[in-house]
Amino acid sequence: MRYTLLLHYPEASEEEIGREAIEAGMAAFRAYADSLDAAGVLRSAEVLQPSSASTTVRLRDGELAIQDGPFADTKEQLGGTFVVDVPDLDAALDWAGRAPSVSWGAVEVRPCAVRYIDGAWQPA
């Protein structure tokens, strides 16, 4: 089964937590992605820019409403996604528990429903 690991955590800038902490975080994510890849379960991995760079679009009364900022203004923001292909939820939870950001945020584990491949939506 395919699962997307959605990494939510409070955003912190380099000024707030220091260069060292940022670098340690990057090293931890590098090692995490390496071990997912080595296990052959990694399908994609993206770490997102801060939500301050986010723009949100809605269609309201026939008009596009474009708003600066993220979809929800919460303390914890979506910071990255990892798509993994593993046998079951328990395996996905094991990987989620090893994500570096579990110690400062939360990892949501969401199963895939369908995927668009070769011009058609297909079961995951």
């Binding site: 699962y3 079951d88 939820l89 328990d90 939870l93």
Partner: protein, 386 residues
Amino acid sequence: MTPAEAVAAAARRSYGRLVAALAAPTRDLALAEDALSFAFQRALETWPRTGVPEQPEGWLLTVGRRRTLDVLRSAATRTAAPLEEADLARTEDPSDPFPDRLLALLFVCAHPAIDAGVRTPLMLQTVLGVEAKAIAAAFAVPAPAMAQRLVRAKRRIRDAGIRFEVPDRDRWADRLPPVLEAVYGAYAIGRAASDLRGEAVHLAALLADLVPDEPEVLGLAALVHLAAAREPDRAPLPLDEQDPATWDRALLDRGEVLLQRAAAFGRPGRFQLEAAIQSAHDARAVTGIVDREAVRRLYAALVRTAPTLGAQVAHAVAAARVDGPDAGLALLDVVEGAERFQPFWAARAALLVDAGRTGEARAAAERAAALTDEPAALARLAALVR
């Protein structure tokens, strides 16, 4: 044995095992239950003509598997969902009772990704085949609400992709306690709803058969047997007021054996302590007396291991039996968060009466009475402060 009796016997013996075996390849418990009831129906129609097969469970499993495939195939023509036919069609030695599948199902029902409140109902339904209506009555919720909860939990197990395997032993420290909690939940519910009491004993015994080498599993089974032996009537009296002649000797004996097996591991725990307390009361059936000092010590150990409100209140009462009401009241004074816990106020009222503090006893009894609508409990409180 008539064919109908053979069907009923197979259901009683193997319901959970068959559901577990049918659900493992698809993780779809609702589908497995439907396929199994189809198989039971088929058996009722077929066995009177053909005779009861040599391996009734194997027969039921084969028919259930075919039914599962049929349902998935007709769904597949609509959604093009892939089928794992090889896994479904795999033949299993019907004499093998696939014990691991059933244990895996218990772990699925008590999976951390499943809401704690629905774990016990899930076990009662999928492992023992108890109807949602009976579970709803025991949990005092409307039947449609309970049915809805069960449907949602099963859908979640399937959609989230929960593993249908027994976790590795090194995970048991985390994964086994919720299983024990859920089985204990069946026992706690069974105490109030006597219709489910037998089911709780069955569930605990089953777990002890599957995991004979974990002392707390055996301790829980011992507890459930010993307690069930003493509650044959619908409105259970306090232990001290019960007539040991009404206790179920066979259940008591099985409970004592389980407790001894648990104790042999030398790793005490909450359920073993609770069972040992039951066992100490049990002695009254033989010797006519209870070793109250032993009971007090066991409760003290229980409060250290699992400081639930119930254990703390029972500890205070046990201490009062040995050292007098003031010792019990002193222990009650340090209990926190018992404002709405009925047994706390009932115990306090009784100990205050014993201490000769009638005015305060009356106030405590009023608070206890306001927290229950059970006629027997209300009558006891009224008699206490009369």
